[in-house]
Amino acid sequence: MFKTFRLSQTLAATLCLSAALATTPAFSQESTDPIKLTLHDWTGQLITTEIMGEVLKKAGYSVEYVQADYLAQFAGLESGDLHVAMEMWETTGRDAMDAATATGKVENFGETGMQAKEEWWYPEYMKEKCPGLPNWEALKSEACAEAFSIPETAPKGRYLGGPVTWGGFDDERVEALELPFEVIHAGTDAALFAELESAYQRQAPILLWIYAPHWAPAKYKGEWVEFPPYSKECYEDPAAGLNPDAAYDCGKPFGPIWKVGWAGVKDKWPGAYAAIKAFTVDNDEMGAMITKVDLEGQKISDVVAEWMTANEARWSEWIKK
């Protein structure tokens, strides 16, 4: 008795809901189970995910956010415990993503529209000590290397690279371009920015791996080093590029930020699948939102709500059948 009552109540509520939202298309044969989206520990990803979640809610889906580690989440995406991961960076997540899609249980849902940029970066005040910047050739001079050095690395300069797990081929790059620098790997992203904050406060020398979209380029004044532009051949063929005997004699690739998810999403929630595939934002609007949250202290939910009202035409297009 009770169960039937509850069921009919839910049914009535659902009917009311779909009647209220006139724009909501009625998807047939879709599961009413919640779609699980993963949350990681950086603001941009939280914003992207929450926008997607809000949009799916508007389309009448039930959504659940699950906090998960960026790389450990693949175990969950493969088994279907988790469903959608909104930011998988070409630059840091490619290997894990390829391994997962190779199993056939994880599907690439396409680009988010954002481009990940990663490169060597220095604060603006370092230009005085190493005037040739941002051209990478300036780093070859002894004076410049000295300016970026600390006691353990002197007379070589110190370059703070990303965690070992990010790859990035910086050791190889230093060798191929014959830069008088030593590559030190930070263990985590947090440690990387802790060092930048520290150096910036003291206006001390620092040269490190920065990526965008991120709050750091908005908070600190500085520039990317300009290396010879990336090409596939440069990474794969030693003969290509400046140094005829070594690969990696160029800058880092730009890469899209991908959406990935469980391969079963397509059949279980076809409408949601279409909406997730249609989702796009670009670097500039994301950068602005990250700044609002991390530097101006606004709440993520407020920033997302603001975006939702400003872009109604855009997202209703995504959930249109």
Binding site: R6, T10, A13, T32, D33, P34, I35, K36, D41, W42, T43, L46, G53, K57, Y61, S62, V63, E64, V66, Q67, A68, D69, L71, A72, Q73, F74, A75, G76, S79, D81, L82, D95, A96, A99, I150, P151, E152, L160, P163, V164, T165, I184, H185, A186, G187, T188, D189, A190, A191, F193, A194, E195, E197, S198, Q201, R202, A204, W215, D294
Partner: protein, 676 residues
């Protein structure tokens, strides 16, 4: 309060006493062996390169085997009716039930429907209700003072806006702890009853405690699904061993008179266990419960990486945007939870040790269960109040306080004003101590080191210990982990020396000064439960990434047992011996060095043992500031979801821990024999 219980000490395994099996004592053995080792190390390299760097052709592909075995378990292993994965998924579902129930009580409220379309039927317990209930529990366990303390701890959570996350964390602790206690108790009982089972169980417990959690995170996720349940399982693997160990020890120390009495009155086996043995071991068992609680709280950060959410997630997210204040507040919220739960469980442990109070004479419900009735009343009243006044249900945001940018400013101030001085200290230690030592250890021949370890084992504990130590050390080399293992030993070794140099003198100072000891306890309790990530980032700002920063983090965490055991050992020295010494005209210094420290040496060595275990358990964290040791290897394996690679590196860490533990325990036992 019951300060006599170690706060966070994984109980070390006592080796069975082997009377008469004395190690050979030949005076010339050590000098000769050392000389041979040095000669070999200096001159043999051109002749026998294989003895220095383990040839990769000899390596066992153990990582691949483990990887394949997990794959098989995951995809093929079956019990006929159901597969292995079905079994683990079933376990996960069983754990999920109580978790959902507690979570809806504390955090989400009673929901119908799933995900965002869920409708809240009943609100969760309001902050007022939880506060009142913990106060009642505190009063029940330890009177007004304890009630005030736990209320203050939970009040901190409310005031600093940590409530929502803290309740999520609390929910997983509330579910994990009883499961850990029951499973640990059953394992311990079984081990007590069947000695062969104990022999099989103890090494497994050792591994569960010493393999870094990151190493088995991937298999746990695969088998138990992604989310809070997997986090609870990972927490259990780490937090359950002390309970099993304590159970074995506690049952064994039940006086034989009590057992005889049980036999005389004709107890059946079951009655003997549940009516005689367990009740008389109750107060020791409560120590195990306390350990499970504390270790579960230690796992909060890692659990949040695999979907547990809560305070751990807040800490990580705050530090990724370098908001030191917010990270510290969330970290201190974990400390507040830990202090409240620790003090409550200790108070119950003390209560369990005392004879039960007379049953209340009244017959009414209120008289028989005053606390239960009061709690029910609180729930009803606050529920109604919550309906009338929203602030009684959810603490209004406007009333919350925060330290805001204060802590970031403090770090900035230190950074701007003292960086050069700190940098000088760092460079001096790094260039004169750390770097040379790293080179020295890295250059030692693995074959010689394995032999020397086996020899030490032989001298301290006979042939059996020698075999154990030798084989474990050899396994590290055979699986290709030797180089990273030497970096691990170097980093942990240096940290342990510093921890001992700081901890033991502090312990000596505090042993006779009650007030100082009380403050010191507060400090070390905080250091042990505050997630190290919270102070790691400020340390990186002041000392850059690298080995020195890693060392500071390890020392901060590992100094606690060095202090605690020194104090414990000194306080246990028989006052009559000290009195006798004074009568003989010893000076204060002589009493300290000749009598007290000598008698306390076994305890201090056990403290050292624990310091090493703590240092090793910090390895994974040091990987986060860019070290290149086994911790980094485990971390890389995690990010590549490579189960085999992670477990092999994790096992190497465990082997180092077991080697150190066995050698030091054997040494401590010999000293104790000599002293008595």
């Amino acid at each position: 309060m019951g300060a006599s219980f170690p706060f966070l000490q994984p109980v070390s395994t006592p080796l069975p006493e082997r009377a008469g099996q004395r190690a050979v004592r030949a005076r010339w053995l050590w000098p000769a062996a050392l000389l041979a080792f040095v000669l070999f190390w200096q001159f043999a390299k051109p002749v026998a390169k294989w003895a220095f760097v383990y040839p990769s052709a000899w390596e066992l592909p153990a990582a691949r085997w483990i990887g394949r075995a997990t794959k098989w378990l995951q995809d093929e292993a079956t019990f006929g009716l159901f597969t292995f994965t079905d079994l683990t998924r079933f376990v996960a579902a069983v754990i999920d039930l109580p978790y959902r129930a507690v979570l809806s009580l504390l955090s989400t409220g009673l929901l119908s429907g799933q995900g965002s379309s869920a409708v809240q039927q009943l609100p969760p317990l309001s902050w007022l209700a939880v506060l009142a209930i913990v106060a009642l529990i505190g009063h029940h366990a330890g009177g007004l003072r304890l009630a005030a303390l736990v209320t203050a701890c939970f009040g901190f959570l409310v005031l600093f806006g940590q409530w929502t996350s803290a309740m999520v964390t609390l929910a997983s602790i509330v579910v994990a702890v009883p499961i850990g206690v029951v499973v640990g108790l059953v394992l311990g009982l079984a081990a007590f009853r069947w000695p062969p089972f104990e022999r099989a169980l103890v090494p497994v417990l050792d591994l569960m405690q010493t393999i870094p959690v990151f190493a088995y995170l991937v298999p746990v996720l695969v088998f138990f699904g992604f989310g809070p349940t997997a986090a609870i399982v990972a927490t259990l693997i780490y937090a359950l061993p002390p309970m099993a160990r304590v159970t074995i020890l506690a049952l064994r120390s039940v006086p034989s008179e009590i057992r005889d009495l049980g036999n005389m009155v004709g107890c059946s086996r079951r009655q003997m266990t549940w009516r005689v043995m367990i009740p008389s071991a109750k107060d020791s068992l409560m120590v195990g419960v306390n350990q499970v609680i504390m270790l579960s709280l230690n796992m909060v950060i890692i659990a949040s990486m695999i979907g547990a959410g809560g305070l751990g997630f807040d800490v990580l997210a705050a530090l990724r945007r370098l908001d030191i204040g917010a990270g510290l507040e969330a970290g201190l919220a974990i400390v507040a939870l830990a202090v409240a739960l620790d003090r409550l469980s200790q108070a119950y442990a003390e209560k369990a040790g005392q004879p039960a109070a007379l049953a209340p004479s009244g017959t009414g419900l209120v008289a028989r269960h005053p606390y239960l009735v009061a709690a029910l009343a609180v729930v009803i009243v606050t529920f109604l109040a919550g309906l009338a006044v929203p602030a009684a249900q959810v603490f209004p945001e406007g009333w919350q306080v925060s330290t805001g940018a204060f802590w970031s400013e403090v770090v900035r101030w230190i950074n701007v004003n003292f960086f050069d001085a700190l940098e000088a200290i760092r460079n001096a230690i790094l260039l004169n101590l750390l770097v040379p030592l790293k080179r020295l250890l890295g250059g030692l021949p693995w074959s010689g080191v394995v032999l020397m370890l086996a020899l030490a084992g032989y001298r301290l504990g006979g042939l059996r210990l020698a075999t154990l130590v030798g084989v474990l050390a050899l396994l590290i080399a055979v699986t290709g982990q030797w180089e990273k293992a030497t970096i691990t030993v170097y980093l942990c070794g240096v940290s342990v020396v510093f921890a001992a140099l700081i901890g033991i003198p502090l312990g000596i100072l505090a042993a006779e000064r009650e007030r100082l000891w009380r403050w010191l306890q507060l400090v070390i309790d905080t250091l042990q439960t505050l997630p190290s990530f919270v102070y790691l980032m400020p340390v990186v700002m002041l000392f850059r990434v690298g080995d020195f920063t890693a060392m500071i983090a390890v020392v901060a965490y590992a100094v606690a047992p060095a202090i605690r055991y020194t104090v414990l050992g000194l306080q246990r020295v028989d006052p009559r011996v000290v009195e006798a010494g004074r009568a003989m005209g010893c000076t204060r210094l002589q009493i300290l060095t000749k009598i007290k420290l000598k008698l306390a040496l076994p305890e201090i060595m056990l403290g050292l043992n624990q310091t090493i275990m703590f240092a090793l358990s910090m390895l994974v964290i040091t990987a986060l500031v860019g070290t290149r040791d086994l911790g980094q290897e485990v971390y890389i394996a995690l990010t590549k979801a490579d189960t085999g690679r992670g477990l092999i590196a994790g096992l190497s860490v465990a082997f180092i821990a077991i080697i150190a533990d066995r050698l030091i325990s054997a040494g401590a036992r010999r000293i104790r024999e000599r002293v008595s």
